[in-house]
């Protein structure tokens, strides 16, 4: 069962959790803005709230400011305006509890995968050298790289590099994982593995903030999402709440399309459309089985009946446009 379905199955209007401060949010930003030298506004007054324990999809076309936002959250880039908080702690204290993949893997080509992880582990002031060997072996094991641990990074394939970057993010106990396009370059098997890894990590209570272009992936993996467009946030919320803004339709396949259209109209369904042997209309919250009963009762030969729920992709396209141009 996917997280999305759990979410939709939750009672509507459930009482919000107590408190509303950063204590409940893994990431909060208020008016976060980055204007690069040269005037390029990469992130524009961003107000994000990533609930603790969520798997939060961060979506947006190329150049919409996702990586820049992540760089600001990690203290790599200073915001021009606004502020943010990670895990409700000062950044230096928060970062040891945050594992991150930013804009793809970057390692020392002449070192082995294992030696690379040792290097980044040494950079963390809270990590203990005595436990490094065990933690590194565990991280490599988790991403399926144990066999290639001793191989030089130079000789890693793209997918192996991506896995090593994820392993580096898992070197310690993390409360928050920030993953910038973690499945870039992975084969379908690797993509599935990352997805299940993310779910496994989230099940341990770790918040996962993951940027992606792959909407189907976000839909399967995330409980929440935010959508960026040219540096601005255009939507955020649970996956279900994002989708609920779009219309759910019913589609009837039948040789008696005219009759079917008439029946649907008589039932009071809006926006009835027919094309060939297919009739669609807005479902508007009705039970599909009642519609089926009505159709059959009127003698319409129903070959198929389906509820067409808008996908995240429809939401995304509606908010960011169909165009193939990059933002910025």
């Amino acid at each position: 069962m996917t997280a999305v379905t759990q979410e939709a199955g939750a009672p509507l209007g459930a009482a919000p959790p107590p408190g509303d401060g950063s204590g409940e949010s893994a990431i909060v930003t208020r008016g976060l803005t980055k204007r690069f030298r040269g005037g390029q506004v990469a992130v524009d007054a961003l107000d994000l709230a990533v609930p603790r324990g969520s798997v939060f999809g961060f979506l947006g076309p190329n150049g919409s400011g996702k990586t820049t936002t992540i760089r600001m959250l990690l203290g790599l880039v200073a915001p021009t305006a606004g502020d943010y908080s990670v895990l409700g702690l000062p950044l230096a204290q928060a970062l040891p509890r945050v594992g991150a993949v930013v804009e793809g893997p970057a390692f020392y080509p002449y070192l082995s995968g294992e030696a690379n992880l040792r290097r980044f582990d040494a950079a963390d002031p809270t990590a203990r050298g005595a436990t490094a060997g065990r933690r590194i072996a565990e991280a490599l094991e988790r991403v399926g790289l144990s066999a290639a641990a001793g191989k030089r990074y130079r000789n890693y394939s793209l997918g192996m590099r991506q896995r090593l970057a994820i392993a580096a993010a898992l070197l310690g106990p993390r409360e928050l994982l920030i993953l910038d396009e973690p499945t870039n370059g992975l084969d379908p098997q690797g993509t599935r593995e990352v997805r299940s890894l993310v779910k496994e990590i989230a099940a341990d209570g770790t918040t996962v903030f993951v940027s992606s272009h792959l909407l189907a992936e976000v839909e399967q993996m995330c409980t929440h999402a935010a959508i960026m467009r040219t540096g601005r946030l255009v939507a955020q919320g649970t996956i279900a709440s994002l989708r609920s803004g779009l219309v759910v339709r019913v589609r009837v396949e039948t040789p008696d399309a005219d009759d079917a259209a008439r029946v649907l109209g008589a039932l009071g369904l809006a926006d009835v459309r027919r094309s060939g042997a297919e009739v669609t209309a807005e479902l508007d919250g009705r039970a599909p089985e009642q519609i089926n009963a009505a159709l059959v009762g009127e003698g319409v030969a129903v070959r198929g009946l389906a509820v067409i729920r808008p996908s995240l992709e429809d939401v995304f396209v509606g908010l960011t446009g169909e165009g193939f141009d990059v933002d910025g």
């Binding site: 199955g9 709230a49 969520s54 880039v77 002031p125 009705r286 389906a306």
Partner: protein, 319 residues
């Protein structure tokens, strides 16, 4: 479409329709049910490991001294005194001795000073510049800098580690030259009392001590140069740029020194002080010259260290 999806769709459909827009996140928060399993872990400040600075420095040194490029440069520097020694031996054997050749051929320890005076002008500075100039720019160019800082290495802490690493390398460079020259000298020339530039003679033990002082002084000079290279390294993501800029600076200084009309500024140029190590060949040791040199090195380290820190601590890491 799965049946689960269809159910979800039906449920979602019963809700009032809403235009997509800013949806308050707290609306359907389920975070209460997804609390970390070990809430005690939360909020407790992550303890800094007391040895973490030295662990990072050790990692840095390991990277520097295992990197084939750096080892190759050290080896090449080690060969130069051998070449100089052999050449002097051949020359000394052929015709009548005189000047520097007589000094060296007369005593095995002198080769160290001769090697320094050859190498300190360009070759040693170049080798130190490669490591120090690469230190920040190389990580930035490779993208590893963003992961180090996200770890979080800490900017001031990382800069300090990078500089200490460069200082250790600067002393390694100096020591390699001294040891190679000493070994070559002992193999090719007679050991014994050392005649200084001022004409007086000191014992061989005293001579060795003066070599140690010279190594300390030349190493400090190289460390000052490393501060310049480190500062330049924080301004670029291309390590060749920082390295080349440092080398160009050294060469420009050498050219300026050669122009007699500019005699007034030469004391302020770093390379001018590099050759002051010959103060140990006076009797007594010219401590004033060494002191002035060390003061100049200290000033360079403070100035360029501050520039490096000011630049690096506020820099946007976009690589």
């Amino acid at each position: 479409m799965s049946t689960a999806d269809a159910t979800a769709g039906a449920t979602a459909g019963t809700r009032a329709r809403r235009t997509p827009g800013l949806v308050p996140v707290k609306e359907t928060l389920r975070s209460a049910e997804r609390r970390p399993r070990h809430p005690a872990e939360r909020g407790t400040p992550a303890a800094r490991s007391p040895w973490s600075f030295w662990r990072l420095l050790r990692s840095e040194l390991g990277l520097t001294f295992r990197r084939p490029r750096n080892l190759l440069m050290l080896a090449a520097l080690g060969v130069v005194p051998v070449v100089i020694g052999v050449a002097l031996r051949v020359v000394a054997g052929e015709d009548g001795m005189g000047g520097i050749i007589e000094d060296v051929a007369g005593n095995s320890l002198m080769l160290t000073f001769v090697s320094f005076s050859f190498l300190v002008l360009l070759l040693m500075p170049v080798v130190v510049s490669v490591v120090a100039g690469d230190s920040i720019a190389g990580e930035a160019g490779a993208g590893t800098l963003r992961y180090l800082l996200a770890a979080p290495a800490g900017r001031t802490r990382l800069l300090a580690v990078k500089y200490l690493n460069a200082v250790v390398f600067a002393y390694a460079v100096t020591a390699v030259v001294a040891l190679s020259a000493l070994a070559t000298g002992l193999a090719l020339f007679p050991a014994g009392d050392v005649t200084l530039l001022s004409g007086t003679t000191i014992s061989m033990g005293e001579g060795l001590l003066r070599i140690v002082i010279a190594v300390g002084y030349v190493g400090a000079g190289m460390a000052a140069l490393a501060a310049v290279a480190l500062a330049l390294s924080t301004f670029t993501e291309v390590s060749i740029g920082a390295i080349a800029a440092t080398i160009v600076l050294i060469i420009v200084c050498q050219v300026l020194r050669a122009i007699p009309e500019l005699g007034e500024i030469t004391p302020y140029l770093l390379p001018t002080r590099f050759t002051n190590f010959d103060a140990v060949l006076r009797d007594p040791v010219d401590t004033a010259a060494l002191g002035e040199g060390l003061l100049a090195f200290g000033a360079y380290i403070v100035l360029f260290g501050s520039i490096a820190w000011a630049r690096f601590s506020g820099k946007d890491i976009t690589s």
